[in-house]
């Protein structure tokens, strides 16, 4: 088993365990004080969401054009699972402020499309992309999240769609480790190339929440992040290249009403 494969399995197991732990936590909470059978004693002031899903970067332009042109990499090779948390605070009956952090990362082995070494062996390298957007956004529910019955009961709606818009920053890392070809000399050299930094991000999303019980929602969302990493420093590893960090994420998660 390679180190990469082991890391993948560990990450997948951690993600699954995270969901299960959250589900186990959410179940008993639903039966605790502050809620009745299928309703809460007041509208929730906040929610916490644990979500996972699938992230597909646009992977175009800048370093991606270089990598996809020279190496056996396609757009789908930068797709990955993602995992994150959202904390929402209700600010109006249909509005929430969402503070979110998310992580997605791909790690893909490749080789030169056009070149072999002098032993007819492929010239291999590994390309890694990691993105961690930290965002604040406003979520607007297209229907009431629930309704008050009497003064001390709040019944959550079964299904509520929403849209969101916000922004923040994204920490990113683009790294390539392995062997490369100097197209001037055609020498093959080993190197660890990376660029990392922070970029501003604009986030838009749309999704829906499905109420599983009075405390727990199933939340699904499609998000688009628009971000561009600055070109690396003139003497950096990817001098002059931009890093297009934009992409689409599909999220599905469990939301706990607090």
């Amino acid at each position: 088993m390679t180190g990469s494969s082991l890391r993948w399995k560990c990450r997948a197991a951690a993600t699954a365990l995270g969901f299960l732990a959250f589900a186990f936590m959410a179940g008993p909470v639903g039966a605790q004080a502050g809620s009745g059978d299928g309703f809460l004693f007041k509208a929730p002031a906040a929610t916490l969401t644990v979500h996972g899903g699938f992230a597909q970067p646009l992977a175009s332009g800048g370093v991606f054009s270089l990598a996809r042109r020279e190496l056996t990499l396609g757009r789908s090779d930068f797709a990955s699972g993602n995992f994150g948390f959202d904390l929402t605070i209700a600010v109006a009956p249909r509005y929430e402020v969402v503070l979110g952090v998310d992580r997605s990362g791909s790690r893909t082995r490749s080789e030169y499309r056009e070149w072999l070494d002098n032993n007819d062996l492929p010239i291999e390298q590994t390309t890694q992309l990691a993105r961690v957007p930290i965002t604040a956004s406003v979520r607007y529910f297209l229907a009431d999240r629930g309704r008050k019955v009497g003064s001390v009961a709040w019944i959550p709606a079964r299904f509520v769609p929403f849209v969101s818009l916000g922004g923040g920053v994204m920490k990113y890392k683009f790294q390539q480790v392995g062997d490369f070809v100097d197209l001037q000399t055609l020498n093959v050299f080993g190197e660890n190339l990376s660029t990392t930094g922070w970029a501003g991000v604009v986030q838009a999303g749309a999704g829906a929440q499905w109420s599983l019980n009075q405390r727990v929602n199933l939340t699904g969302e499609l998000r688009y992040n628009h971000a561009n990493g600055d070109g690396d420093k003139p003497n950096g590893d990817f001098s002059g290249y931009k890093v297009n960090l934009s992409g689409v994420s599909t999220l599905i998660g469990l939301t706990l009403r607090l």
Partner: protein, 404 residues
């Protein structure tokens, strides 16, 4: 992708782990069976007599009420949902009784006009509490139901003192009724939605919720003392609580009730509407003058039977006031070298406690050089000396040395 797949599997599993919105049990008590039997007051209102509920036909309940002299009056509560004209004791109007879909709540609406007085709106709910009591919730108002009061009944222990015909009518059904009471579930979102669709008034819904979740809510008998004085009824006041406005920020229903009451007072200008005197308790007809026709039994029907008392005016508030929350205490702490400290320098007033050493008397402990927990000298010893003399009032709780 494997991450995604495993997460999806986990998520799918978690969806099953989380209980889906509870479904109500089948309507096993669709005839109001849970109320069948004989009941006696359990709320301390001594003037209340007893009442027996006997099923009659498919949807009717025969109500036989006994006053304190065991004089019986009878009426029929029709659970058909149809409006029934009411005309008695100078009051006219209608009433409408319905059974909830699961048979676990009886809802009664009525509108009455007595003489020249404005028409009164009445909404009632009969609820079996988780402990098997029968809670009768009554809301009254003019334009809308604006206040609420409750009566509480428990099933009688013995039927020996009831007339033979009633015993004979009930005998085949009492056991089944007990089963039905035990099977009643707490009010659910589905029940609330039904109540809402029926147009049940907010104060009544609140009390139905509070009765179902006694660990989360207190049915606060604010104003009960005033009612006792005014009506001459003896009442158990152990549940009286402090000013409910303390909670007005978190629970606007309190101020809502109050505003509604004030509005009625200003509009009608014919009632004694002292805001400190039964502000939640009395209907706008008030106990002082025009007696509430339902609770007073003016038209002698089923309400007159088991509603002969005035009922306890109530509001609903959460079970724990803010000062009882563990995270919001009075500043008590443990300080290295000083031991436990209440966090306040004053020691007078109700509820203040002072400490004494476990052995010896307070005088000797002072002389032994131990530091007093409330002593200003505070020399840092581990044994606390007493300041018992600082307490005041009969409610002050103090500690004393434990005898060897």
């Amino acid at each position: 992708m494997r991450t995604l797949l495993i997460a999806a599997v986990a998520l799918g599993g978690s969806a099953f782990l989380s209980p889906v919105l509870a479904q109500n049990a089948p309507a096993s008590t669709a005839r109001g069976l849970a109320w069948v039997g004989c009941w006696e007051a359990a709320d301390g209102i001594q003037s209340q007599g007893r009442v027996c509920v006997i099923p009659e036909g498919a949807r009717d309940l025969r109500i036989v009420s006994f006053d304190r002299q065991d004089k019986a009056t009878e009426s029929t509560l029709r659970l058909t949902g149809e409006r029934t004209p009411v005309s008695a004791e100078g009051c006219t109007g209608w009433e409408q009784a319905r059974l909830s879909a699961d048979g676990e709540r009886i809802l009664v609406d009525a509108q009455l006009q007595c003489g020249d007085s404005p028409q009164q709106t009445i909404a009632e709910a009969f609820v079996i509490t988780p402990t098997g009591f029968w809670l009768q919730v009554r809301g009254t108002g003019i334009a809308m139901v604006a206040n609420a009061r409750v009566r509480l009944y428990r099933a009688v222990d013995s039927y020996a003192s009831f007339p033979a015909d009633i015993r004979a009518a009930l005998a085949p059904q009492v056991q089944e009724a007990e089963y039905a009471r035990n099977a009643i579930s707490r009010v659910s979102a589905r029940d609330l939605a039904e109540l809402e669709s029926m147009g049940v008034a907010t104060p009544v819904i609140d009390l139905v919720v509070a009765a179902s979740y006694p660990s989360s809510f207190v049915i606060d008998a604010e104003g009960a003392a005033a009612a006792t004085r005014s009506t001459g009824e003896a009442m158990n006041t152990s549940s009286l609580n402090s000013n409910p406005f303390y909670w007005s920020n978190g629970f606007p229903m309190l101020s809502y009730y109050d505003l509604a009451m004030l509005e009625n007072c200003m509009r009608l200008q014919m009632f004694s509407c002292g805001m400190g005197n039964g502000r939640y308790g009395y209907s706008v007809f008030g106990a002082g003058g025009y007696r509430d026709p339902f609770f007073g039994g003016y038209y002698g029907g089923y309400n007159g039977g088991y509603g002969q008392g005035q009922g306890i005016p109530v509001v609903v508030r959460p079970a724990a006031p803010p000062s009882d929350y563990p995270g919001n205490r009075g500043g008590g702490r443990a300080v290295s070298g000083s031991g436990y400290s209440s966090g306040s320098s004053g020691s007078s007033g109700g509820g203040t406690r002072s400490a004494s050493p476990r052995s010896g008397n307070t005088g000797t402990s002072q002389n032994s050089g131990s530091a007093g927990a409330s002593s200003s000298s505070g020399s840092g010893g581990s044994g606390g000396s007493a300041s018992a003399g600082s307490s005041g009032g009969s409610s002050t709780r103090t500690a004393k040395p434990r005898t060897p």
